[in-house]
């Protein structure tokens, strides 16, 4: 308990930073992942190929390596200067989008073909069918796996701590510099994450109940 109370100035801001990182990356990956999923079901073969290549490459690359690239290698390219926090957001978004894309795509597959056919019969375009008929239903049916992906994102955000971002994963380092017990500090961090994951699981369950589609 002492380790937590003596270092509240660390735990508070660092966990807030984790939550901030999580929220920004979550919104980014949801948007980008959905766009990728739209590419992967589009009628234009080139778009489908682009989506497939992106997902295949990113899903088979370790997140740590994505981080290493954006933190160590990217600055050398001198395109746009980004700080460590932005680099972490970009890495997490690039990585998580590929998983969101696959979840959304599996959701699109659960929507009966008749829905799209009815849309076409009414003269809707592909974009309208996807945006107004299929995706809203698809997203509702994939809420549980979508939030599981976000839980993975939350846990993955700790890797940022290994790359000079002052978030929960980095607390241990600061504690050890202050000479406090690292084991206890890490246990507190673990507890913090258990609570955050529990909150997300709770959101998942309530959304699942409210949004489940009767078919």
């Amino acid at each position: 308990m002492d380790v937590l109370l003596d270092n509240l100035d660390l735990f508070g801001p660092f966990f807030l930073r984790t939550i901030e990182l999580f929220l920004i990356a979550a919104v980014g990956s949801l948007v980008f992942g959905t766009i990728l999923a739209m590419l992967r079901v589009s009628p234009v073969p080139v778009f489908r190929a682009v989506g497939t290549v992106y997902v295949t490459v990113v899903r088979n690359t370790p997140l740590t390596l994505v981080f290493a690239f954006f933190v160590f290698a990217y600055p050398l390219l001198e395109i746009v200067k980004i700080d460590y926090f932005t680099a972490a957001v970009v890495s997490l978004t690039v990585y998580t989008s590929a998983f969101i894309c696959e979840v959304v795509r599996s959701g699109i597959n659960t929507v009966p073909v008749g829905q799209a056919e009815a849309g076409r019969a009414l003269g809707l375009t592909f974009g309208q069918i996807l945006g107004e008929v299929v995706l809203p239903q698809a997203l509702r049916s994939v809420v549980p796996p979508l939030i599981s992906t976000l839980i993975a994102l939350l846990k993955n955000s700790t890797i940022a701590g290994g790359f000079s971002v002052a978030e929960a994963g980095a607390i241990r380092q600061y504690i050890s510099e202050r000479g406090d017990n690292q084991l206890v500090a890490l246990l507190w961090v673990a507890l913090g994450f258990i609570i955050l994951v529990a909150v997300l699981s709770f959101v998942q369950r309530s959304l699942e109940k409210r949004w489940s589609v009767a078919r």
Binding site: V46, P62, F69, I108, S148, K155
Partner: protein
């Protein structure tokens, strides 16, 4: 795709799609050209930055790094499979306390970030006077986290088996442990093999976290080579090479999963499980942790 969201294009839409395709290709080519240009501009393609690949010392060190990665993967995979089987059986036990303890352990290790687990074993244990090594921390972390996920996979597999399997086994006079380990688990593992292998892909990727607890694996070596002034600090080339190696290794594992799945479908021993149920069970149970994710 079984699901078709669009009609077979007529002449007009074919023309339109072709225009979109051209625009799409132009955008992609422009992006790639921009990236290649910035690489070239900052001198990432100079021969000096790639020369390190030609040194035999570097090559053998690179092979050693890959071996270290595979070693962590192999140990982690074996222990995680054992851990998963034991705790899946535990969660299906008829004794309430066994079930409770197993559920607690599985949910506990799925909720903690893997990196924090590795930190706990690498930086935390020494404060208790326990000797650790990076390999120990990496393997133990991989085992506990992926083992917990695998336990859920096994459980979903066992739940998806037809009830007659265990009923027949009990009718033959088998004991509970016998039913579980000689009848149910082998079939569950067979049915879930593709899912199990994709979890092993996650495990393989997670070995890269070892970099952050100074385990000398592939990414660690890529970083080391990238910081060498002799080769002009080739961090971009070395990261690209490491990425290539990781992608090839993971794709090989994925190919294995696809092959196993096809072979499974042909096999006579294959019994029709209620696949849908297994999938739903997995989606529903994914609450505690990232089934789909991993680092």
């Amino acid at each position: 795709m079984t699901n078709v969201l669009f009609d077979v294009p007529g002449p007009k839409s074919r023309v339109r799609h072709r225009i979109y395709a051209v625009i799409g290709i132009l955008v992609v080519v422009a992006l790639i050209a921009f990236v290649v240009y910035s690489f070239a501009q900052s001198g990432q393609f100079t021969s000096q930055k790639w020369a390190w690949l030609e040194y035999s010392q570097v090559q053998s060190d690179l092979v050693n790094a890959i071996v270290a990665t595979l070693e962590a993967f192999a140990l982690g995979a074996v222990f995680a499979l054992i851990f998963g089987a034991v705790f899946a059986a535990g969660r299906l036990s008829e004794h309430k306390w066994v079930r409770r303890i197993s559920t607690f352990i599985v949910e506990f290790f799925r909720a903690i970030p893997l990196l924090i687990l590795m930190f706990l074993f690498y930086f935390g244990l020494p404060t208790l006077g326990v000797d650790t090594s990076p390999l120990f921390a990496v393997v133990l972390g991989l085992t506990l986290y992926n083992g917990s996920v695998l336990a859920e996979v096994f459980r979903a597999g066992i739940n998806s088996l037809p009830k007659g399997q265990s009923e027949a086994a009990y009718a033959l006079g088998m004991r509970k442990t016998q039913v579980m380990f000689t009848v149910l688990l082998p079939q569950a593992i067979r049915a879930m093999l593709p899912t199990i292998i994709s979890q092993l892909v996650v495990l393989l990727k997670d070995t890269a976290l070892g970099f952050l607890v100074t385990y000398p694996e592939l990414l660690y070596y890529a970083r080391y080579i990238g910081s060498q002034g002799v080769f002009g600090r080739p961090i971009v080339p070395s990261t690209l090479v490491a990425a290539g190696i990781y992608i090839v290794l993971c794709l090989l594992l994925t190919a294995l999963a696809t092959w196993v799945e096809k072979r499974n479908r042909r096999s006579k021993k294959h019994i029709e499980t209620t696949d849908n149920k297994a999938e739903q069970a997995m989606l529903g149970n994914a609450a505690g942790g990232g089934f789909v994710g991993g680092a």
